[in-house]
Symmetry: C2
Subunit: 236 residues, 2 copies
């Protein structure tokens, strides 16, 4: 059994439709490659109660919970406080986080009160380094709190993933059928029944020349994938 | 108070990172324009228990719940059954849904058993028309169940929205600051305090020429937006 994961994206800008998520999509791909089963993704607004409730709903159900957003210097960056509250621990500016942040500024006065918010770390958390802009993320038990800026988020993900290993990476095969789903659905159901250990998905598409279907099988077992691929190709 | 909403996207293909969501992003924009506050978005896998639990968690908390995905003809299309179960009602092939579907086929035999799955409708639901491919969505109380294929999803959304009206559309102003967030955060916090009725977000970005920040204010009150915009521009 692969370890399981959830992603929590924090930000009104996604819910308003102003920004399209890219961090969740990026991490989803990377988790699949790493053999970690992403079971749920959520987007909640920049509200203390919403963040706290989501963290407490997810951290007990999945092996890993990754968050993105809300750890910058502005008044709407409240993720760290909400997570401290979710765990029932204190939070304050921490010396090691402050030292990381200070690398950004030649003049110590530039590390002003608002910027220092980025050094507020819940008690007991481990820091996640941020080589891009030096404001650290943090890990508290199985919750990994990362920045919303994509360049920072992806760097943090890449530094975390090797340590999470776990499970055999999931392979996949994809077969394109130039017929509508409905014509292959019955035969596909038979294949799914014959390979209960393999996750098989069916994804319809439309092109100028008509309806088609992508069939995708996923498994850590390369030999079983080769076998199911033959059956899927026979549907073409 | 505007009505509230949640979006539930159903599909392993998003969680595996194979597909990037576009339906959630589209609906998020349209809800904002319609004056409906999107408070949460979730993605769950094609698993009966996951869909049922998410529906029951969301439908009691928000005025409207919109779903996308899992209502096609294949074995992994289990949304309708999971939603019937969530509401504790029966589900079966319904004559009006079957008649809609039948428009697709000149030969009645083409409406095979797997395709007929798309006419399975929970008891008590109202149909949502699908002018693109004729397999209907449905509405059960405050839950709107729509297709995952983007061309169908967007058409269903556009036919639904006028009937949901409610609330005054949210306007927004956006001000670009060519300085890093940390330099404006303190002044921005003062503005946010002075305009407690207006949602103000801060979105950092990086360009070749350095760090910058988009400040976005949202409100249904045009006059208040004009006023806060002056203050935001003064930060440039």
């Amino acid at each position: 059994m692969n370890p399981t994961a959830a992603i929590l994206l924090i930000g009104d800008e996604i819910l308003s439709g102003r920004t399209q998520d890219s961090n969740g999509h990026y991490l989803a791909k990377r988790l699949t490659e790493a053999g970690i089963d992403l079971k749920e993704m959520r987007v909640v607004s920049d509200e203390h109660a919403a963040i706290k409730a989501a963290i407490n709903a997810l951290r007990g159900r999945f092996d890993h919970v990754f968050t993105s957003g809300g750890i910058g210097p502005t008044h709407d960056d409240i993720t760290a406080d909400a997570i401290a509250d979710a765990f029932g621990v204190g939070i304050d500016v921490r010396a090691d986080a402050r030292a990381m942040l200070a690398q950004n500024y030649n003049n110590p006065d530039d590390l002003n009160e608002m910027r220092l918010r980025m050094a507020r770390i819940p008690d007991g958390a481990a820091l996640i380094e941020n080589p891009v802009s030096h404001a650290p993320g943090f890990q508290l038990e199985n919750v990994y709190v990362m920045a919303g800026v994509p360049a920072v988020f992806t760097t943090m993900v890449e530094s975390l993933l090797p340590g999470l290993t776990g499970g055999v990476p999931l392979g996949s095969v994809s077969v394109r059928i130039d017929r509508p789903e409905g014509q292959v659905a019955a035969a596909l159901a038979e294949i799914a029944k014959a390979f209960p250990d393999i996750a098989i998905g069916s994804y319809p598409f439309v092109t100028d020349s008509g309806f088609g279907t992508h069939l995708v099988a996923r498994s850590p077992d390369k030999a079983r994938l080769d076998e199911v691929e033959k059956h899927l190709r026979a549907l073409r």
